[in-house]
């Protein structure tokens, strides 16, 4: 069977006129991102502490971010934005990101996120200002009855797996 690949013929002029802006735009955008300077690998990353509590139905997640430099001094005046996404369905359940306001204590910022579901959420802390960084922590958001506040615990990797049927007790016959 004669099966050479059909080759692309030369484009008629009106087609290339339509393609050109796209090509140019791509090249321009690509050029923006090629690094102008060498890769900076200094340890200027802040240490980010994240404590969250959930309350109400929704649920609402109130998070306090603690920013410190390597030497322990608090980072003040930073622009902190908190966001969240669900690892099991990454581009759905879009949560409006919230700007975290300084609480008064140096280096601390607080914001409340309106979540859609309970379960494992990846809370993103987006820091700009004097330092720029982005940190994501996985938290298991529990249901909190009434007007209480429950801490959201750090989620371990196995919290969201499929129904694991290999419970250790069932295979207790191993004598290792």
């Amino acid at each position: 069977m004669n099966s050479s690949f059909p080759s692309l013929p030369s484009f008629p002029s009106f087609q290339s006129a339509r393609l050109a802006p796209w090509a140019a735009g791509t090249l321009l955008a690509l050029a923006l991102t090629l690094p102008a300077s060498a890769l900076a690998q200094s340890s200027s990353r802040p240490q980010v502490g994240l404590q969250c509590v959930s309350h109400g139905s929704g649920p609402m997640l109130e998070c306090v971010v603690d920013l410190r430099r390597r030497d322990g001094s608090a980072v003040e005046g930073a622009q902190v934005m908190l966001g969240a996404l669900m690892p099991s369905m990454p581009m759905a359940h879009t949560i409006k990101p919230m700007k975290a306001a300084p609480t008064g204590k140096p280096g601390e910022y607080r914001a409340t996120l309106e979540l859609e579901m309970l379960g494992v959420w990846s809370v993103e802390v987006d820091i700009s200002g004097p330092l720029r960084d982005k940190v994501a922590r996985n938290l298991l958001v529990h249901e909190c009855p009434g007007s209480e506040r429950c801490a959201a615990t750090p989620a371990k990797a196995g919290d969201d797996v499929h129904m694991g049927r290999h419970r250790p007790g069932a295979h207790g016959g191993h004598k290792h």
Partner: protein
């Protein structure tokens, strides 16, 4: 910089990235195959690009390019044994492969020590600190421009390819493979080529995603992601490369972000896809509509009878 602006920029980036994944499912639908495994190439591309940029300090363009190559190669390798399967078995095989890839990524440990702690894929815990954009001070807006530019380039290339013999050939393969083979086109090689393209596209989306969020984990690449990609292609339309993009806009834009039916998004979306498959199987932007739109855009008069040849 207000939270709403950040939200909008993030949403637009997500839509562009998801469109790339939807386009990859769309390409395979064009050659007549439903694939529930495209999320595997998305994940492989994400990990490959992330590893290159975070562990080996490659520039973004090179890391993305490598991700694309990895995705294309793996997709082509998967297509070799599976393309001869019937559509039903192919769908299940790609689903199985998608899960195999996800589990393999859960077992991947490849870390390098740096000043800020180890960096690299840490198995089931995921891959943190893909910080190329942060270290090179690329703003979210600039990255959105890059993502949109890449999407526009891909869309342009695909739409241009539709007018060539190649594009016609791969559409034919999906409609009737026996007839296509009778025309002299190798159906198997066409499917392999399209599979490689689809894998590369999905991997491109994955690489862009990894750098945008700086953190990826294997749990992200579960079958629901691939199922959604196919859904976007089927809903938006198989007539043009803009179809999957439309599907993404409808789901992520209208249903999700605009909170049109909060808490019922998947119910509406799933219902729409099922209804469309019953009454308008080629989706919203099907070939007929695209043809009519094309005519209207070009304001073509109705076809005239050919002029009689003038005598020399």
């Amino acid at each position: 910089m207000s939270a709403s602006w950040v939200h909008a920029v993030g949403l637009a980036s997500d839509m562009a990235i998801m469109s790339l994944l939807a386009l990859s499912a769309y390409l395979l639908l064009l050659v007549g195959r439903v694939s529930f495994g495209q999320q595997a190439f998305f994940g492989l591309g994400a990990y490959a690009s992330g590893v290159m940029s975070a562990l080996f300090a490659w520039p973004l363009a090179a890391a993305l390019a490598l991700g694309v190559v990895v995705g294309a190669l793996c997709s082509w390798a998967l297509a070799l044994p599976t393309m001869r399967l019937s559509g039903l078995h192919y769908a299940v095989a790609t689903l199985a492969f998608g899960e195999m890839a996800r589990i393999a990524l859960s077992a991947l440990h490849w870390q390098r020590p740096t000043e800020d702690g180890p960096v690299g894929p840490a198995g089931i815990e995921g891959f943190r600190d893909i910080r190329w954009l942060l270290e090179n001070d690329v703003s979210a807006e600039a990255y959105l421009l890059l993502t949109l530019g890449l999407l526009a380039a891909v869309l342009g290339l695909l739409m241009a390819a539709e007018r060539t013999r190649l594009g016609t050939a791969w559409r034919m393969t999906g409609q009737d493979d026996v007839l296509t083979a009778a025309q002299g086109v190798s159906v198997a090689r066409m499917r392999l080529l399209v599979a490689a393209l689809a894998g590369g596209l999905a991997a491109l989306g994955g690489g862009l995603y990894a750098h945008r969020t700086t953190y990826i984990e294997p749990a992200l690449f579960d079958p629901m992601l691939g199922v959604h990609a196919v859904g976007y292609a089927l809903l938006g339309g198989l007539g043009t490369a803009l179809g999957p993009f439309l599907g993404v806009v409808i789901d992520l834009g209208l249903l999700d972000a605009a909170r049109l039916f909060p808490g019922w998004r998947m119910v509406i979306f799933g219902g729409l896809v099922a209804l469309f498959l019953r009454w308008r199987p080629r989706g919203l932007l099907d070939e007929v509509l695209v043809h009519r739109l094309g005519q209207w855009l070009r304001r073509q008069p109705p076809a005239q009878p050919p002029n009689p040849p003038t005598a020399p």
